[in-house]
């Protein structure tokens, strides 16, 4: 699914990253705890969260998150948006709650991140 299709599905507003809407997305991770995101989310995943502080952007940068969807109509501060623009991470906002956002995406074939990322390391 492309980010553009996700935007339409969620009736979302693009705040940062209009030029990246053709990105292909296969996995998603929904969480409010950044340490969970750090432990479980896969590179290239969509991050669904109710948080809007700049650490959401930093966490996404560290993990190569494809795009962030802020749920429940949340809008980030200008500081958060500036950081997203600087680090080239798309940010969208949807009026749906996390439950509905994840439900709609799951119904369209997006899958979750099954294992701890460190379990999949190439060498042990």
């Amino acid at each position: 699914m492309t980010l553009r299709e996700i935007k339409d599905l969620l009736d979302a507003e693009v705040l940062v990253g209009y030029d990246q809407l053709d990105k292909e997305i296969k996995t998603a991770f929904g969480a409010d705890l950044m340490s969970d995101v750090l432990a479980f989310a896969k590179a290239g995943s969509l991050l669904l969260t109710g948080l809007t502080n700049p650490q959401v952007i930093r966490t996404s940068d560290v993990l190569d998150i494809a795009a962030i969807i802020m749920v429940r109509g949340k809008r980030p501060s200008p500081e958060t948006l500036r950081l997203a623009e600087e680090l080239l991470i798309p940010v969208l906002t949807t009026k749906y709650i996390l439950f509905e956002t994840a439900g709609k995406l799951y119904a369209k074939g997006i899958v979750g991140c099954m294992e701890r990322v460190d379990d999949e390391r190439a060498f042990t």
């Binding site: 969480a31 409010d32 705890l33 479980f40 109710g50 709650i97 996390l98 994840a102 439900g103």
Partner: protein, 119 residues
Amino acid sequence: MYLEDIVKALNLRVVSGEERLSADVLGGYVGDLLSDVMANSKEGDLWITRQIHQNIVAVASLKDHAGIILIQGCEPAADTLDKARKEGIPIMVTDMPGFEVIGRVYNMLATKKGPDPST
């Protein structure tokens, strides 16, 4: 949609509140920040979270949630379990990641209520 239908369909392990599995699930809410869940979840919601400390029982009880699903292999803390058993709050656990749990619960509720419960 009864809680026990969801428990069966998702193969959830019930650790407390077995006597209340006939509760009607009216919706779902996902959140790990208690203040958010307090403010925005609704009565009859099935709450999906990874928080395990005993405050989740108080929140679920105050908000009259149908139950709590702990995701990603999270187990309730000992005092959480005690409190949930005392108050009869159903807690279910699963190894599935949150996204999948949400997706499946959402689809079950959506099929029950019609194509799009959010509009």
